[in-house]
Subunit: 206 residues, 2 copies
DNA sequence: CTTCTTGATGTCAGCTTCTGTCATGGCAGT
DNA sequence: ACTGCCATGACAGAAGCTGACATCAAGAAG
């Protein structure tokens, strides 16, 4: 018989799993860190050794995403223009995300982000950190400022919008395709394309 | 003699002033809400009646900024293309900000935002809310999605970058000019301009 | 003038998040 | 067997934030 290890393995993973379960069962705000830790067979104190705060338990994937994107920018053809390099990197990262992550998890997490501004704040700062990393990657390729920052920021914007349209979309289209579409729309907008005539939305009554 | 009013006027303003003073004197983290309230001649509980949380005391101006920008988009010439309308609105708002706000305050606040990720998070969600408002304003003018969102997001990106370059700049140039420059750079980048050859930054040693 | 209502503030108890500090006890290397 | 390591636990406490109720001057209503 295997000797009992002193501790169950993968404390971090157990905490993440327990957290998502409880957030889905009771909602984010009505789940305390103590409950998460207990379900994972640990204590509150240990939770805070793995995660800087309660929200952080939802963001274990963000380092991978950043690394994947930065790496792809580093490997882009030497004289590709910044927008193309960034667009291709985000598109590929989108495809990877779609492949690797459970769709149920991605949806549940998206609901949490949209429903709780506390979590949205964290999401936004992760995206800002991603933009900063992309900026550095572009600078390393010789792109000057402010072009590097602008390409990075617009890349993130395109990713956000593509992701949102993908996850809320009725037909299960490809995330990468949504991102590509957003890039193309951005180019058209930035080129000063005339506003297509469309029925204006009714103004809200103040 | 004037009868003493029961309460000193402008509790909110006193709280904001006390907060900025203490943040400059001791730093953000080492200032408690109780200290802020006491300096303003109030109690902690009253602070939380005026501000949803400790960070919010630094963001009284954000509603004005949003309103100013949305209004200007609403008043742009009827068939202006989205990017131009957005760019003009942000440029004008930048000029207004520069006119109306004390430079010392703007700088001190900028330092706080860059130094404390907690505050940066709040700043970013305010900018996201601004982008959402700009999107709605464009939609009301008949701009379709995703063009409206993209124009709004890039507008915010341009504002951020213009602001940053203005506030950290050596020569006290115009904020509006920085924003205008960022818009132009963005157009060039989005048009797929060739990377200008520039000395690449040294890579960080991992 | 008296009474009533209102609204900004105070008081207090309590929860949750997050941190510092020290204790515990298997496990690995010697 | 000894020893140091290190993931975890235990505990106390600060700070942020909330709900409930009390206070009390300033008008409004009568």
């Amino acid at each position: 018989m295997e000797a009992m290890a002193r501790w169950q393995p993968d404390a971090r993973g157990r905490l993440e799993k327990a957290a998502m379960e409880l957030f889905e069962e009771r909602g984010y705000e009505r789940t305390t860190v103590e409950e998460i830790a207990t379900r994972a067979g640990l204590t509150e104190r240990t939770f805070f050794r793995y995660f800087a705060d309660k929200r952080e338990v939802l963001f274990s994937g963000s380092k991978d995403l950043e690394k994947s994107i930065v790496d792809r920018i580093g490997r882009a053809p030497p004289r590709a223009n910044p927008i193309e390099a960034v667009a291709a990197a985000f598109e590929a990262a989108g495809a990877a995300l779609q492949d690797r992550r459970d769709l149920h998890f991605v949806r549940a997490r998206y609901v949490l982000v949209t429903k709780h501004s506390e979590i949205l704040e964290r999401e936004l700062i992760k995206l800002a950190s991603l933009a900063a990393a992309v900026t550095r990657a572009l600078r390393a390729r010789g792109v000057s400022e402010p072009a590097a920052s602008l390409a990075a920021e617009t890349g993130v914007a395109v990713f956000k919008i593509g992701f949102e349209r993908w996850i809320t979309g009725k037909k299960p289209q490809d995330l990468a395709a949504h991102i590509r579409a957003a890039v193309n729309a951005l180019k058209a907008v930035a080129a000063g394309e005339k506003t297509p005539r469309v029925t204006p939305k009714r103004k809200r009554t103040a």
